[in-house]
Amino acid sequence: MTTPALRMDLTSNPAEIASARKSIEAFAGAAGFDERATADIGLCVNEAIANIIRHAYGSAKDKPIEMHADMVADAMMITLRDWGNGRMPDLNKSVDPNTLCPGGLGLPCLKALLDGLKFEPQSDGMLLRMTKRKR
C-alpha cells in the first residue's frame, strides 16, 4: 500500500454517495489530477456505488461497501468491495441512444472514463478494480 491512501466505510444508502464522491474528488485533486479527470473519477465512483446499491444489494440500504484508493506511480487505483450477489455485469452492452431507455448508462460511463475496469467475483460478493491515469 502506498500513501496517502484513502479508505471509506460506506453503507448502501444513496445518501452516502455524495460523501464518497466528494471525498475521492478531493483526494484526486490533491494527488494532482486535473479538474476534468477529477470530475471523471468522482462520477465513476458515484456510478459504481449506485450500481452496487441497486444491482448487487437490490436497493437494500444497510449493507456494507468499502472503498479504497491510492496512487501507484501516475495512476489512481480504486477498489470497491461489496458483499452482495456477486453477479458479473455484462460489460459488452452499449448505449443505443435510439431506444430511449432510461438506464444502462452507468457501465458505459465507467468504460469510457477509466483506464482500467475489472470485476473480480469473490466467494461472498464482488471486488471492483478501477484505474485512472493522469494524462
Binding site: I17, A39, L100, P102, L113
Partner: protein, 119 residues
C-alpha cells in the same frame, strides 16, 4: 400552482403555462435525490397538455446517470404526444455527462429559457 405544491428541494421554481412546463433546478442530483425529482417532473407531465418540458440546470453543478434517466423517462412520455425536452444553461460537467452517454442529441439543448421559444 396547486398541482405543484410539494416539490423536491431541488426545484426552485416550477410553472406550467399552456403546453410548456418549466422547472428550475438546483444543487447536485444523484441517486439520493433523483427519485423525488422524478416524482415532481413526471407528475407535472400528467397534468394538462404539456408538450414542452424545460429543465433549467443553471444552478446544477452535477448530475449522475440516475438524473439523466429521469430526463430520458420524461422524454419517452412526451414523445408519444409529439413533445420535447429542453435542457438549458448546462454546466460543462453536466454537458460532458450527456456527451459520454451519447444523449446530447436526443434532448434539445439550448443556451437559456428564452431560446426555447426561438427553437
Amino acid at each position: 400552482m396547486a398541482e405543484l405544491q410539494h416539490l423536491s428541494t431541488h426545484v426552485t421554481y416550477a410553472d406550467i403555462t399552456g403546453d410548456t412546463a418549466i422547472f428550475r433546478l438546483k444543487d447536485e442530483i444523484d441517486l439520493h435525490t433523483s427519485p423525488d425529482l422524478r416524482t415532481d417532473i413526471l407528475g407535472a407531465l400528467t397534468k394538462g397538455e404539456v408538450k414542452k418540458l424545460v429543465l433549467n440546470l443553471e444552478k446544477v453543478p452535477y448530475v449522475d446517470s440516475s438524473a439523466i434517466a429521469v430526463m430520458v423517462e420524461a422524454l419517452q412520455k412526451l414523445r408519444k404526444a409529439g413533445g420535447k425536452v429542453y435542457l438549458t444553461n448546462l454546466s460543462p460537467r453536466v454537458k460532458g455527462l450527456l456527451e459520454i452517454a451519447r444523449l446530447d442529441s436526443i434532448f434539445s439543448v439550448v443556451a437559456n429559457e428564452a431560446d426555447v421559444a426561438a427553437s
